[in-house]
């Protein structure tokens, strides 16, 4: 069955239907990761977006039940050049197509994803629709809907409604604010002897304080960070608790906003597993996994709050902040990886050290 991708600027791609049929509208973004499509698909940070994979062969090793980063697909649609019909890997349980169908996600294959990426690169991210119901007659109406689309209340949509605990009984008690948390953040903490209480993203300082935790973890998540005014206010009080705080991605952006900095939208974002980030404190450059469309404007961070600790080696955007006013450090990239390189996983160790210090262990 034919499927189409229509972009807000009117560009039309024809392809084959992948996954569910129907029409979906979202913000079209691209990811350059060559592996890790299952992690990407289930990453809540893609809420409201239609993901394009630049690597042409997707689904080669199939889907398994271990590599999901959340319980479902949060993205609105999926665009690939070729989806693998006969995946091969010992953990493979089903094909990409079957999974998308099950999750009711509309996708398209047979698209020249490089051409699409080049369009997004020069125009910036753009809204679009993937549809199996395209016709010349409904084109204008669809374009109108596409242009009207925007991602709102993203965190509200993806955060958990009830708290849950992982690694019960472990040494360090961590409160993890779920703004759209990837499972691997939890795994990385549990692996390091943490008992992790995942809380809804709107949890308050009082609620956290009541848990008697040793540290607070701020997760990744989707959407425009600046729209989360309630959370930003909460964070000011949470920081005041004096607990060690480690923020990733949206957690990093929200902390910066709470500190008085500004955020801005990148032209086409950083999405992939090959982004070089220079650690200014250690003069080392790490290869990191990234997925973000917004960034903290480093120069707007009040000097009395802290300083930029990491920058993107390519475009020099802010990739991390060390706060002096708070016991907090945050990074824009994903040290928990999945998918992508694990080179920055040691940051979790630093978080543990900070908690240990707080507990008076060293």
């Amino acid at each position: 069955m034919k499927a189409y991708l229509l972009l807000a600027d009117g560009t039309l791609f024809e392809g084959k239907s992948l996954g569910a049929q129907g029409t979906t509208i979202g913000e079209v973004v691209f990811s350059t990761g060559m592996v890790g499509f299952e992690e990407t698909l289930t990453d809540p940070s893609y809420y409201g977006q239609i993901i394009t994979q630049t690597y042409p062969l997707i689904g080669n090793y199939g889907m398994n039940s271990e590599d999901k980063e959340s319980k479902k697909i949060w993205a609105k649609g999926y665009i690939v050049r070729e989806s693998c019909q006969y995946p091969s890997n010992f953990r493979c349980e089903e094909t990409l197509d079957a999974f998308l169908k099950k999750e009711n996600i509309v996708g398209i294959e047979g698209v020249d994803t490089r051409r699409l990426t080049r369009i997004l690169r020069s125009h910036g991210v753009m809204n679009g629709a993937v549809t199996t119901e395209y016709s010349e007659e409904n084109r204008e109406a669809l374009l109108e809907q596409i242009r009207a689309y925007s991602i709102v209340d993203a965190v509200k949509a993806v955060t958990c409604t009830e708290s849950s605990v992982s690694g019960e009984g472990n040494k360090y008690k961590v409160a993890l604010l779920d703004f759209g948390c990837k499972n691997n953040i939890v795994r990385c903490l549990v692996k390091r002897d943490c008992e992790v209480t995942v809380l809804p993203g709107f949890a308050t300082a009082e609620q956290i304080s009541a848990l008697g935790v040793d540290g607070v973890m701020l997760s990744n998540g989707p959407g425009d960070p600046a729209e989360n005014t309630e959370i930003i206010e909460n964070l000011k009080s949470i920081m005041a608790l004096g607990l060690p705080v480690f923020g990733i991605c949206l957690g990093h952006q929200l902390s910066a906003l709470a500190a008085g900095a500004k955020t801005g939208k990148l032209k086409f974002g950083h999405r992939g597993a090959n982004q070089p980030v220079t650690d200014l404190l250690h003069d080392r450059t790490l290869i990191t996994s990234q997925n973000h469309g917004y960034a903290v404007l480093g120069e707007t961070l009040p000097a009395e709050m802290g300083a930029v600790s990491h920058v993107n080696a390519n475009d020099k955007t802010c990739e991390g902040v060390r706060y002096t006013a708070w016991n907090c450090f945050t990074v824009q990239f994903h040290p928990e990886a999945s998918g992508g390189p694990k080179d920055a996983e040691y940051l979790f160790d630093e978080f543990i050290s900070r908690m240990a210090a707080k507990k008076g262990e060293c």
């Binding site: 350059t32 690597y55 042409p56 490089r114 080696a313 390519n314 694990k342 080179d343």
Partner: protein, 1068 residues
């Protein structure tokens, strides 16, 4: 960390002659490194014995020593040049071993020379088997159960402990020389003994065989700060067990999930960090297909063949970056030249699939054992880029020049299904084709996978191609299926042949860019591959870069193979450079990832695509060049001539018609007659009967060869009817497009000239005389410049004939002509209106920039205005000797006797003030150890020659005896020598009871073997077995009387390399 300014003069060691396992990739990496150093204002001193390399050009290095690569010579170069540093990790295993030897002996420290990029300790920990195991253990990296042994007894004991099959891996040998899989004790005895002998430190690793695991490679880099990156990972189509150089390799990995990918990536980065390498490193892993269990197989602490492949597959210039790291820069300080904006500290993202396919020499060596194992046998490789695995695979298969358009191997068509299944068990060079045949016949993936262990993912993709081919063979063709067929790599020619139908719609290829970043950033590199998508990035690039320069397209020479080696890449690259200097815009087309020509900044644009007419036509459609050049890319490029002419493309230089005139037998005869030049009598035939009749008319011996050949492919001297029958049997098993030539074989001195012609005048930079008389392929002969035995009159005739032929053919550019001087009369053997393998060497020793002048002729300049004169260029005051180098020890069952069919894989050059010096250097550079008998040692020479050589043997035998050798000979030869009053011991033949000739060879007493026989080739022959045995024991085996004579002269002189001046050729 900025550049270390204390580094001012660096010695770079090259990799020497092209041999299997060490090919053009080191010219590519070495050239890149030298240019990177020079661009930083560092003076570069280069040493390499291989004259066919670009790195030995005066433009690339400041001081160039084409000298034997051994410790004494390198020390002398260091003493003359006094470099402050040495860069050891870009010249392959040869360069690395030499540098380490110098470092370990303390010489470098004493001389105040720093070792850049690698430390002896690092290298030992990567290459010494035990230290490597200890290092991996320390890191917690799993290795395969193995043990380092130094005796066969220990090997057998350990194998009994871990159980067969086991793998033998000799230490410090490249390309896995001397290794192999042993299924039982008997095999271990043979392979183990051999491996111990070939390892320079007499050490082998006995390892548990983990056949069936996936083989995955990572190319990683590290700088002095400790930043680490992965440039590329690759997955082998063939599971563990086949040397990666002999595997079909795909990049990036396809069947690894993020979990496995990152697990191995982290392991590779941990390894390079622990080893403390500053530069590039290759890590090979075995991954169990049904768990996360893995093992580190091997670590190469240097730039390697795989890193050349990774560079071309990603666009990331590993060697250049490694050189910059070596002089102090860190990865984040180096700019990614592809984007011009981002930094080199990142990991390339691919948005295409790369397939590497090996080029094996089995089309030439029909009797060679084709089984693949741990010892590499491929002479070269091709790379193909596609938007799908299928498309890349189809391009790769077309590029290896086996005459295939799909994976269908016609010779398998008649096999029964049972035979095909049986053949799946053979892990040999044809296995991919057998798998494809099985898939076409509907043999299940399970059956194929169980036998081959090839991952089902690859089988599914090949099934897709097989299904498409099957459907087309049934005559099915719609516009939709046609478009799909194009997407997945089928050529129009193939589609019409299979379906019997006209193509429904005209489609042109569109080109995508290789940009290291999957289009995330705008790239500046004009490096393209074809697809059948709509968007044409090349066209866009051309539009955005308007120029009024004339656009010239240059075709490269494809994979390195015997007969068409690195020389043609040298010529193609120089052609491009000259065109650029003369105001042309250049477009390069080639498919060989090992070469300088496929470096993205050699031409103005690079198309990495097959060199077949259809592929080229598509590029021409996009580029619309003013003209094309075919004469520098060997036979691969020349073969495109007719097709290009049909397309109406202007071909610069010698016309297509003239090329045909030189190659078409009848027209060539007419031409010679017109010019009044004699050639050996000959006829053109198609069948065995015709061949026998022609041979009878001409009189034996006769030379048989197909027309349109390079490297003497399938060429023999037939001494009798049986030879003719055997030959015609082999040659008619392939499709005969062109006739077979039968020529009277004339013996005599063979000489060769390359001439530059402008259509009227000609310039011969120098005449080259071969040491071996006619009958041995020119590529396998020792060649001397200037000629030593030719009378002035003969030289005059050679110049005169060359001029006549050049004028008659209206050659514009280069022509190579081979002559034989028989009974004082000059005959023409061959005229090749194109560049030849001798061009780089003659350019370097005469100082005449042959390719440059030829290209200027192509552009219409006249020789008379170029300042080098016309006619024969004055002879210089040096002598140069080119000596061929073979890779016989890597190819089983190949007869080492030299003949009309070329067998050498590479060459070295000896340059001296006189003939003797040059010859000595040449022989030493080629690996002759120049052993002389020591009083106490009881050493001997073994002689066994054919009747025709006996007359001349007498003197040779006498001279060996005079040197102090004992003589041994087989009965016929011994009788002859006895008759001629030369005392000699008779030795029993192989077929006779022990102790026989094999025992003598194994005794370690034999320093030289001289073996010539009228028949050869067949591995079952005693003479072939004897020569093979000599190869396996590394005993120099001479197969021509003339070679024996020059070797003897050198031995008699008593001189060693220490007595001979070293020469910086940049001062010539």
């Amino acid at each position: 960390m900025p550049k270390d300014t204390s580094i001012k003069k660096v010695l770079v060691i090259g990799s020497g002659p092209i041999i299997i396992g060490q090919a053009a990739e080191f010219d590519y990496s070495g050239t890149q490194a030298c240019r990177a150093l020079k661009s930083e204002g560092i003076e570069v001193v280069l040493i390499n014995s291989n004259p066919a390399t670009i790195m030995t050009d005066p433009e690339i290095a400041d001081r160039v020593y084409v000298e034997p690569l051994n410790v004494e010579v390198v020390k002398r170069v260091i003493e003359i040049e006094k470099p402050d540093s040495i860069l050891p990790n870009l010249g392959g295993q040869t360069g690395l071993n030499l540098a380490m030897e110098l470092a370990r002996s303390g010489y470098l420290e004493e001389s105040g020379v720093r070792l850049l990029g690698a430390k002896p300790d690092t290298i030992d920990r990567a290459e010494d088997r035990q230290l490597f195991k200890d290092t991996m253990e320390k890191l917690g990296q799993p290795c395969i159960p193995s043990k380092v042994v130094e005796t066969l007894e220990d090997a057998l004991a350990f194998a009994a402990e871990i159980d067969y099959p086991v793998i033998v891996r000799p230490a410090f040998t490249m390309g896995g020389t001397g290794g192999g899989i042993c299924a039982n004790e008997e095999e271990l005895r043979e392979i183990g003994t051999n491996g111990l002998r070939l390892s320079p430190i007499h050490q082998v690793l006995i390892e548990k065989c983990i056949a069936g695991w996936k083989e995955i490679e990572y190319e990683v880099m590290r700088d002095g700060k400790g930043n680490v990156i992965t440039v590329c990972n690759m997955e082998n189509f063939d599971p563990v067990g086949v040397h990666t150089g002999d595997s079909i390799v795909v990049a990036p990995s396809q069947t690894l999930s993020d979990h496995e990918y990152q697990m191995l990536r982290t392991a590779a980065l941990d390894i390079i960090t622990e080893l403390g390498i500053e530069g590039g490193c290759n890590c090979q892993f075995a991954l169990k297909p049904d768990s996360f269990e893995y093992a580190v197989i091997e670590v190469n602490p240097r730039v390697s063949r795989s890193s050349a492949l990774a560079s071309k597959a990603t666009g990331y210039p590993i060697a250049k970056v490694a050189a910059k790291i070596a002089i102090g820069y860190s990865l984040d300080e180096i700019i990614n030249e592809v984007t011009g904006e981002t930094c080199a500290c990142f990991e390339p993202a691919l948005d295409y699939v790369v397939v590497k396919y090996p080029k094996w020499p089995f089309d030439k060596f029909v009797y060679a054992k084709k089984d693949l194992g741990t010892q590499m046998m491929a002479t070269g490789e091709v790379m193909a880029i596609g938007t799908s695995f299928e498309a890349a695979m189809m391009k790769a298969v077309s590029s290896i020049e086996l005459g295939l358009e799909t994976l269908t191997l016609p010779t398998l068509a008649e096999d029964s299904d049972e035979t095909i299944i049986e053949k799946l068990h053979n892990c040999d060079s044809e296995r991919a084709f057998v798998v494809y045949e099985a898939l076409k016949r509907g043999i299940s993936w399970e059956v194929i996978h169980d036998i081959t262990k090839i991952d089902r993912w690859f089988l599914a993709k090949m099934q897709h191609l097989a299904d498409m081919e099957n459907a087309m063979a049934k005559g099915e063709l719609t516009e939709e299926s046609y478009r799909a067929a194009k997407q997945y790599g089928f050529m129009d020619k193939t589609i019409t042949r299979l379906t019997g139908k006209e193509i429904p719609v005209e489609l042109h290829a569109s080109y995508k860019m290789v940009d290291t970043c999957a289009a995330e950033f705008a790239a500046k590199t004009p490096y393209f591959y074809s697809s059948f998508d709509e968007e044409n990035e090349a066209e866009e690039f051309i539009r955005q870069h308007p120029t009024d320069r004339k656009k010239v397209m240059v075709f490269g020479s494809g994979p390195i193979r015997i007969g068409q080696g690195i020389e043609f890449d040298y010529c193609s690259v120089h052609c491009v450079w000259t065109l650029k200097e003369n105001g042309c815009e250049t477009i390069l087309v080639n498919n060989n990832p090992e070469t300088v020509s496929t470096d993205f900044d050699t031409g103005d644009r690079l198309y990495f695509d097959p060199l077949n007419p259809e592929s080229v036509a598509h590029i021409i459609h996009t580029e619309k060049p003013w003209a094309c050049v075919v004469q520098f890319g060997g036979q691969t490029a020349i073969k495109l001539t007719k097709a290009l002419e049909k397309m109406g493309v202007k071909i610069l230089g010698t016309s297509a018609d003239a090329i045909d005139e030189a190659e078409d037998r009848e027209r060539f005869d007419a031409l010679l007659e017109r010019c009044g030049i004699p050639r050996p009598a000959g006829e053109t035939i198609f069948t065995c009967e015709e061949a026998l009749a022609a041979a009878a008319r001409l009189g034996y011996p006769v030379l048989l060869r197909p027309s349109y050949v390079l490297g003497g492919q399938n060429m023999i001297i037939a001494y009798n009817e049986a030879d003719v029958v055997e030959y015609m049997g082999i040659i008619t098993s392939h499709e005969l497009e062109n006739p077979v030539l039968v020529d009277k074989y004339l013996t005599g001195v063979e000489c060769e000239v390359d001439a530059i012609c402008d259509g009227e005048e000609f310039l011969i930079p120098g005449i080259m005389e071969h040491i071996e008389r006619a009958g041995i392929h020119s590529g396998d002969s020792i060649s001397v410049y200037p000629p030593q035995t030719l009378a002035q009159k003969i030289k005059g005739v050679l110049v005169d004939y060359t001029g006549r032929l050049a004028k008659a053919l209206k050659v514009v550019g280069l022509v190579n002509i081979q002559y034989v001087v028989h009974d004082g009369k000059v005959y023409v053997i061959e005229v090749n209106p194109r560049s030849s393998r001798t061009v780089p060497y003659i350019s370097k020793v005469t100082g005449v920039p042959v390719v440059e002048l030829a290209v200027r002729c192509l552009l219409g300049e006249k020789l008379s205005q170029m300042g080098y004169g016309t006619g024969l260029y004055p002879t210089g005051d040096i002598c140069a000797v080119k000596v061929p180098v073979f890779s016989f020890e890597k190819l089983h069952n190949v007869d080492t006797q030299l003949g009309p069919e070329m067998k050498s894989t590479g060459e070295v050059l000896g340059i001296g003030r006189n003939f003797e010096d040059a010859m000595l250097k040449g022989l030493i550079a080629a690996g002759y150890q120049m052993r002389r008998p020591e009083p106490e040692q009881d050493k001997c020479v073994l002689l066994t020659v054919k009747d025709a050589d006996k007359e001349e043997l007498t003197e040779i035998a006498y001279q060996f005896k005079q040197l102090g050798y004992k003589l041994y000979a087989t009965s016929g030869t011994a009788n002859w020598l006895a008759k001629n009053m030369i005392a000699c011991n008779e030795v029993r033949k192989i077929s006779e009871e022990a102790p026989n000739i094999l025992n003598l060879l194994e005794s370690g007493r034999v320093d030289y073997v001289l073996s010539t026989s009228s028949k050869g080739r067949l591995p079952s022959l005693d003479s072939v077995k004897l020569r093979r045995k000599a190869v396996e024991l590394s005993i120099p085996c001479l197969t021509a009387i003339d070679t024996a004579n020059v070797l003897l002269k050198c031995l008699q002189s008593g001189r060693t390399i220490q007595d001979v001046d070293l020469i910086d050729i940049s001062t010539l």
